[in-house]
Amino acid sequence: MRNILIVAGKEIQEGLRNRWVLATTLLLAGLALSLTFLGSAPTGNVGVRALDVVIVSLSSLTIFLLPLIALLISHDAIVGEMERGTMLLMLSYPIGRWQVMLGKFVGHVAILAFATVLGYGAAALALALTGAVVDAASWLAFASMIGSSILLGAIFIAIGYLVSALARDRGTAAGLAIGIWLLFVLIYDMALLGLLVVDQGKIISGGALNALLLLNPTDAYRLFNLTGFASVSTFAGMAGLAGTAGLGPRVLLATLAAWVFLPLALATFAFSRREL
């Protein structure tokens, strides 16, 4: 346990020194603030539900941005340290490979969590300061949006490690990471949509669709945030879907948790078998 914290501490220290933390926080805060103030303009006087609109736009932003940031941080974690030669030295110390992996994970998730809480929190704070009235339900939805965003980041950090533990060199890892990002964030949904249009509801049942949605962590995240809270789903245009999706927040959260655990376990396994 202590080794994990030591490695995590070093990752955070490096993140602070490399300005990764600063850059990520500023990026998320900047985008969140502009979405908060520009994004609510088209809806006119949104009044009471201002925060719910922010949740809808922020969660769409998150789906694009957080996986990208997470993969950028993580794809280099193993293969990069191996190529630079720093991994060889660290592993000659009394520390297990799984401890290195988990330590990095804790450190990177902490960096991402810090940036998300601060960046998105700034948007909510700014909104509150402008005098918009926000009720308790909306705060809860906002808090769970931040929480699930961190979870989504953790998923892609774990996937990035898996890529990093398997890839032969850094270039391959970077290419794979970009491919995975494109697949989950863009291609998968387009392909699924195309499939549904072609299928016309003949073969693909509701259950199969649910399974297909759960196979993509970004879809699980989207469903969790846009259908989980009644106040939000009306703005998201998902009110209809929310009633019929049949995927409760618990199932979605469990799916997201599994998406963290599985790649991380596979990455640890791959790393432990890798020759130095």
């Binding site: 080794n3 030591i6 070093k10 220290q13 490096e14 020194r17 490399n18 630079r84 030669g85 720093t86 060889l88 030295l89 660290m90 592993l91 000659s92 110390y93 009394p94 520390i95 297990g96 020759e275 130095l276």
Partner: protein, 305 residues
């Protein structure tokens, strides 16, 4: 006395290549051992096996009474390693880097300042490692290997990139460690440098250990000729082959120096004759160097008699 490092019939294959072939050796505490061989001879592989970073294909490895690859880390806490071309994260300072490694070994971080002073990095301790020269990085590498007064030191090409003054202080530190009873294994290309420092020399060639013994032992085994350089006035130079001729082969170096190669046991005979002939200005005896021994053992493996 139990050995700090014990290898029994260790073989390590990478695909079709046998990087290490049936190596057995035992290194006692308090001994400095030179590991010598070409690039790709298996030196680094041997060290990685001792560190437990890779598993042997066959045979057993024991370091400080423990199998280093078994996942038990008690021995690693008493082990220092300096990899060939050591690398650090460039964003952190030397002090931060050492603090990290000290924590992993559960050593007090406060003592790292002294360690940095000891390797001559005291003044640069709070600069980023990225701004360091190769020599400074090597010093930092040595500092991290010294954390916690290790009982076994594995140093892979430790003096490459160090200037002569630093080499000297480097070997002083090694000497201190050995006096305290540590086993120091160092690989190097600078053979002449190791000659006076290592009690034992292990020569590797293509994964096979071709020699293992003290420099004197190896000299005896190899029976390499001693070279005697005789300086004499130009006119009597031509006569030298006549009186040493029966013993060894002569080679003229320049206008007044002749080099004679003789067997170890005939050295005294040549000295006697030089004195008897009286025309000798000066005389140097050059015993076979580690370089010569190394070349000899490599040759004898290539062409088995």
């Amino acid at each position: 006395m139990t050995a700090s490092i014990n290898l029994q019939d260790v073989t390590r294959r990478f695909g079709a290549i046998e990087a290490v072939r049936a190596v057995s050796l035992a290194l006692p505490p308090g001994e400095t051992v030179a590991l010598v061989g070409h690039n790709g001879a298996g030196k680094t592989t041997l060290m990685k096996l001792m560190l437990g970073l890779i598993h042997p294909t066959a045979g057993t490895v024991q370091v400080l009474g423990e199998n280093p690859a078994a996942g038990q880390f008690a021995a690693r806490r008493r082990l220092g390693y300096l990899p060939e071309s050591v690398a650090f994260n460039t964003a952190l300072t030397a002090r931060e880097t050492l603090a990290f490694y000290a924590r992993l070994k559960r050593e007090p971080v406060a003592r790292m300042g002294d360690l940095l002073d000891r390797v001559g990095l005291g003044a640069a301790a709070d600069r980023r490692v990225g701004t360091y020269s190769k020599g400074m990085r090597q010093r930092l590498g040595l500092a991290q290997a010294l954390i916690g007064a290790p009982a076994v030191m594995l140093l892979d090409e430790p003096t490459t990139g160090l200037d002569p003054a630093l080499r000297h202080s480097f070997y002083e530190i090694i000497q201190e460690l050995r006096d305290r009873g540590a086993t120091v294994l160092l690989s190097s290309h600078a053979l002449t440098e190791l000659e006076e420092r290592a009690e034992r020399v292990i020569i590797m060639n293509r994964g096979i250990m071709v020699a293992n013994g003290s420099v004197d032992d190896l000299r005896r085994i190899a029976c390499l000729p001693v070279r005697i350089r005789i300086a004499a006035p130009a006119d009597s130079l031509a006569a030298i082959p006549e009186w040493v001729g029966p013993i060894g082969t002569c080679r003229r170096i320049n206008g007044h120096v002749v080099e004679v190669q003789v067997g170890l046991e005939q050295k005294i005979e040549v000295l006697k004759r030089s004195v008897a002939h009286g025309t000798v200005d000066d005389l140097d005896i050059v015993p076979p160097t580690l370089d010569d021994l190394y070349a000899h053992f490599l040759m004898s493996q290539e062409m088995p008699a």
